[in-house]
């Protein structure tokens, strides 16, 4: 099973060892062999996710999704691609042409770059950077500039309003996103994503995996990370900046054809990247949940967890109503940020309680940390909604 697990690594080494490559192009070839499969895999993930999302949303809403194009509508992405590519590319007359053209590119390039540090399997990350997590967040922050460029260059009121809302939302939710990952960095002690996954590969008591989501602080941090990730990628219930019923398409209003497809692609790829990061940081990356399941290759585990999280995102999109802008902001600054700060404190308590030596210490520290997290959540939740909503009065027809 080791062979199946490392099949891609050995394939790459075999290709590089072929004798007819000149030495000069070996580094470029090595980079290409790492990059091209990532682009192919996540490109096809994008196509599959669009159709799965539409069919999933349809089923949630008690209707069929698209079912015309292929068997059960599964060839719909091809129809979508043909439509996007053959649509006329309209640029408004008074738009800023250079910025209007550059905005989708500035969005897509950093998002593609973020895939290079994610570990997809054992020894299977494209680059192993010492500061990989910081690299990821730096590129996530640069995509906000693209949103602004798109909104402003369209010279459209709705586009500008949508862009400002989107940027305000993305900047605000970066704070809970980064703070919840700081807890993981504190415990593991490194910013390298490969090392973070390696730290989660053991099993305590023989069958409970060492994943961070199974610790109280890690569970809280995972929830905050998922909420902040939903907001960062402008996905429901935080999709006010691009909601069709609110603001037409927000900052994407003046884009059509291939550029719109690029924005769409960039948004979904951002979702995939953040989901991959959530799997890496909290769900143990490519490690198996139970020790006897190690025969399944590591990359299959990564994509299984990844697919589960994407399905959860689609589920949340179908279920939860949209948040208004002020509700969104209040939720971030008044609820998530204090809770993530308290989570930092809980993580520190966990780390220092790990040095206790009396018997039953692991259970005690689990209980203490869980108590702090639960008390903080309940306290903040109740405290913030104390006198906000009056008691409901039911009136019946007499």
């Amino acid at each position: 099973m080791q062979a199946l697990d490392q099949i891609f690594v050995t394939l790459k080494q075999w290709i590089l060892a072929l004798s007819f490559w000149p030495d000069v192009i070996k580094p470029i070839l090595s980079a290409l062999i790492s990059i091209v499969p990532i682009m192919v895999v996540f490109g096809s993930c994008f196509a599959v996710t669009t159709i799965m999302e539409r069919k999933g949303l349809g089923r949630f809403q008690n209707r069929y999704g698209p079912n015309r194009v292929g068997p059960f509508g599964l060839l719909q992405p091809i129809a979508d691609a043909i439509k996007m590519l053959t649509k006329e590319d309209i640029v408004p007359f008074s738009a800023d042409k250079v910025l209007h053209f550059l905005a989708p590119i500035v969005l897509c390039v950093p998002v593609w770059l973020t895939f290079s540090v994610l570990p997809f399997g054992r020894n299977m990350s494209a680059i192993d950077l010492d500061a990989g997590l910081l690299f990821f967040f730096a590129l996530g922050a640069s995509s906000e500039l693209a949103v602004f460029m798109a909104g402003w260059s369209s010279r459209n009121k709705y586009a500008m309003v949508g862009a400002m809302r989107a940027i305000a939302q993305m900047i605000s939710y970066e704070i809970p996103l980064v703070l919840s990952t700081v807890t993981v960095v504190m415990i593991v002690g490194t910013l390298s994503l490969n090392d973070i996954v390696l730290a989660q590969t053991g099993f305590t008591f023989g069958f409970i995996p060492n994943w961070h989501v199974l610790t109280p602080w890690g569970f809280a941090a995972f929830l905050f990370f998922m909420i902040a990730a939903t907001a960062e990628t402008n996905r429901a219930p935080f999709d006010l900046p691009e909601a069709e019923s609110e603001i037409i398409a927000g900052y994407l209003t003046e884009y059509s054809g291939f550029k719109y497809a690029l924005f769409f692609l960039g948004e979904y790829l951002g979702l995939f990247a953040i989901t991959g990061l959530a799997v890496t940081l909290f769900l143990g990356g490519w490690s198996a949940p139970l020790p006897f399941l190690n025969f399944i290759p590591s990359w299959l585990w990564f994509f299984a967890k990844f697919g589960t999280l994407i399905a959860i995102f689609i589920w949340i999109r179908a279920t939860v109503p949209r948040l208004r802008m002020d509700q969104l902001m209040k939720f971030c600054w008044k609820f998530l940020v204090p809770l993530t700060l308290i989570n930092l404190f809980t993580t520190a308590a966990w780390h220092f309680a790990g040095t206790w030596q009396f018997s039953g210490a692991p259970i005690v520290r689990w209980l203490i940390c869980a108590a702090i997290v639960a008390a903080a959540y309940v306290g903040m939740g109740r405290g913030l909604t104390l006198n906000r909503y009056p008691k409901r009065i039911y009136r019946y027809a007499e």
Binding site: L134, A141, S142, I167
Partner: protein, 199 residues
């Protein structure tokens, strides 16, 4: 001992990008273009830091400067309605400003180019890691770290307080002042109609 230092071609490419976008940031007509050109020069500088094996600083530069400071500058340009204004070239003393800047550049660059000790090539890449940076931050540089924490808190609070609106004070003014104007307007309207009708 010359070893794997930054290569010359990539240095010139990144330096050209950074310099051109910096000159653009200072001389473009449209202010939003200035702000975005500044973001590009920040990105070029981050590339130079990465070339110099300072990865943590390079990524922090992108995260802080491109991801926050550039967006802040662009937001301020929009909030102060400078977005579609075409700026005049420069103020009256622009020639002397350029002359001073040129003099400063010459004063720094000429001694550097003439000095023999600065003409050296790079030694081997320093052995540092993010762990070492963290260790140093917590041991040798803990005092600047705490000072920065204080400074950032003060800047956060100060920024919010300075940019806050003064409206709550205005809301306390009584609304009765508006009534006389409306009555006067109504009276004036009645007079004009009576004049037209009555002759």
């Amino acid at each position: 001992m010359p070893s794997n230092g930054p290569s010359l071609i990539t240095f010139f490419v990144f330096a050209a990008i950074t310099l051109v976008s910096a000159i653009g940031a200072m001389s473009l007509r449209n202010m939003v273009h200035c702000g975005l050109s500044l973001a590009m020069s920040f990105a070029g500088l981050a590339a130079l830091y990465l070339q110099l094996n300072a990865e943590f600083v390079g990524f922090a530069q992108i995260l802080v400067y491109v991801g926050a400071v550039a967006i802040l500058i662009v937001f301020t340009i929009l909030l102060t309605k400078n977005a579609d204004v075409h700026l005049p070239r420069a103020s009256r003393g622009w020639l002397s400003g350029l002359a001073i800047a040129f003099a400063v550049c010459a004063a720094i660059a000429v001694p550097i180019l003439k000095s023999p000790s600065l003409n050296r090539l790079a030694p081997a890449a320093p052995s540092h890691s993010v762990q070492r940076i963290g260790e140093q931050l917590m041991t040798t540089y803990v005092l600047p770290l705490e000072a920065i924490a204080l400074l950032l808190t003060a800047a956060l609070l100060g920024g919010v307080v300075i940019a806050m609106r003064d409206d709550p004070v205005d809301k306390l003014k009584p609304k009765a002042d508006l009534q006389p104007q409306r009555r006067r307007g109504a009276e004036a309207a009645m007079e004009s109609t009576s004049q037209r009708l009555g002759g």
